[in-house]
Symmetry: C2
Subunit: 366 residues, 2 copies
């Protein structure tokens, strides 16, 4: 078995050198599957170096038959391959006004890949969930001291929980391949979770421990970070982020791109959702006054994005124009016009304004 390679982050944008946080230049999205080397990387701590020979995945807690699996044993189990879009819950944060704390992602903390592994449900079946098993905590081998308060005494391991019903769905994988090859180090080598329909923080990398618990998990990344204030009977209550919210993004043109007047221009992008399907994308090239339906390049496929295009005749009049895209989904939801303030610095899923310049000096050197 080949040694884990750092994926070559060809063309990625540096957001943080160490721990590694790199963004996909979203205008380069032109395939249904994001090439592995262009896939965004969001690490919380230094990527741990796990050895295949000694790797163990432990499944324990509220189960009748706790057990551990070696890497070879995991690979020997029946596998499934699924396409899933992963989006960082902080994607597009740079669009927030005023600026919110955290990595200033533009549009590219999202990607769509093919994942191969063993359904988490198969492991939980083998372990035998106790009747009062409530959540499944996924714990990675990456450890450190987090930054955002309140901060527990550290260092701590990266860990997130899934509700029991979600953990048992067949699409949740304990994955060892991405786009047909072994996971690169920065994508969780040798084994990670992939939780389609949830924000990326749920897809724990360098997974070494599946812990079944009897009460809702209240770890750091479930309460301090990746949380938001909801309201219950007039009182604020802290909730953990989970399901991806409906979103579309424009890949081309780029923000502040200069475009020739009175020409054919193919606007393109992608749209995705959580536990529903994207059914419609509309585009506005006049700041939201009028909207026209875009065409999909990809069919409906639950948990995978749908790329779309829109053929724009650019205005004859030079000036600044604002493009927007807005998705609708099968469950009736519509992408909002504005950021939903309860989500704070996360879930930036409103129709994002892409300002461009119609300019007849397009050929000029800039």
């Amino acid at each position: 078995m080949a040694q884990a390679l750092r994926s070559d982050p060809v063309g990625l944008i540096i957001r943080e050198k160490e721990p590694t946080n790199l963004e996909t230049p979203f205008d380069q999205v032109d395939s249904f599957l994001t090439p592995t080397e262009l896939f965004y990387i969001r690490n919380h701590f230094h990527a741990p170096a796990l050895e295949l020979a000694t790797y163990q995945l432990r499944i324990d807690g509220a189960v009748t038959n706790p057990f551990s699996l070696s890497y070879e044993q995991l690979r020997a189990m029946p596998s499934e391959t699924r396409v899933a879009t992963l989006e960082c819950a902080g994607n597009s944060r740079v669009f927030l006004i005023p600026q919110a704390a955290g990595v200033q992602w533009e549009l590219g903390a999202v990607g769509n890949a093919e994942w191969t592994g063993v359904p988490l449900g198969a492991l939980l079946e083998r372990a035998g969930l106790e009747e009062d098993a409530c959540e499944i905590v996924l714990e990675g081998a990456d450890r450190g001291t987090p930054k955002e308060p309140p901060v527990p005494r550290g260092p701590i391991s990266y860990a997130r929980s899934l509700p029991r019903h979600k953990a048992l769905q067949r699409e949740v994988l304990i994955a060892y391949q991405m786009n047909g090859r072994d996971l690169p180090l920065d994508h969780g080598y040798p084994v990670r979770a992939v939780v389609p329909g949830h924000y990326g923080m749920a897809s724990v990398k360098w997974l070494t421990h599946v812990h079944v618990v009897r009460e809702p998990f209240r770890g750091y990344w479930q309460t301090s970070d990746y949380g938001y204030w909801d309201e219950l009977d007039g009182n604020p209550v802290r909730r953990a982020l989970g399901e991806v919210q409906l979103k579309s993004e424009i890949a081309r043109p780029r923000v502040y791109e200069r475009i020739a007047p009175d020409q054919a221009y193919r606007v393109s992008g992608a749209a995705w959702a959580g536990e529903t399907d994207v059914t419609e994308v509309a585009v506005s090239t006049d700041g939201g006054q009028t909207w026209t339906a875009a065409e999909f390049l990809d069919p409906v496929r639950r948990h995978a994005w749908r790329r779309w295009t829109f053929d724009w005749r650019t205005p004859a009049e030079p000036g600044r124009y604002t493009l927007l895209s807005r998705a609708k989904a099968a469950n009736g939801s519509v992408q909002p016009d504005q950021h939903e303030p309860q989500y704070g610095s996360y879930v930036v899923h409103h129709a994002l304004p892409i300002e461009v310049f119609i300019d007849d000096r397009t050929g000029a050197s800039v």
Copy 2:
């Protein structure tokens, strides 16, 4: 007189939407003068809307003849035009490990422009400096509450001081034009300071007040922000950033660029310094083991950058390669190999590693 236009930030990278902080994509630097619309924007607060008809510049404090000037009066004075490179003191911060707080600038919070205005020294001469005049405080019309502690009771105006001797040098301009046209709003319309040889924070925009003081100024941007810890007899002492430190940057290739093997590739970049001249730039394509002199495209011109190129025969062997550039200056200084820790999150002027991928799949779609 035309109304102030927001400069069209064609192709700029968003770092913060409001207040506006936009970065030049440094790989697009291919002219001696940075086009105004590609010039980085670093605002601390919302850009104030000053009216030409009511604009006044007040010069007062430790002077014998305090006075105010209207915009028309300023324009009627003898002017000078000078080329100067302005670099934000936080430029290249994203290269720091561990990450430092602040805007995560890559390579493009620097630009070179031609500035037209009245020498500050001419105004100070007319005002008549008192003998004990010590520093000249430049105050802008932009106001707000800053973020980094310790924070005074706000809101406060953006203000920075210059030592008397620097303020009297002919190159320090009270400028109203940039690259031959009136200043755009985000570059300080209608009037700003331009302090060649100092980091950008000294070139106060939307300038409305020149205040001559009798003791060293200890304002927020002189002590809390844009400051660093120096040492005096074993004790830490807080100093204000001032003179630009010698630096070169590679514009092409970009970080993580994919490049074909065994080909001619023109590496290019720029180098600049404070109160000295860049005399030499060397390039390494093997992570610093060997160095070769680059060729300058621009002559020596105090306070302006010098672009340079280096013709590289790319390696036949695919893999990851680290490029570096290193400048030397007439005063004997050499660009350091590592970040100088006393500067904290500022003055990131060491030889910055540009990692690239030699890859024969260069033609492949990515």
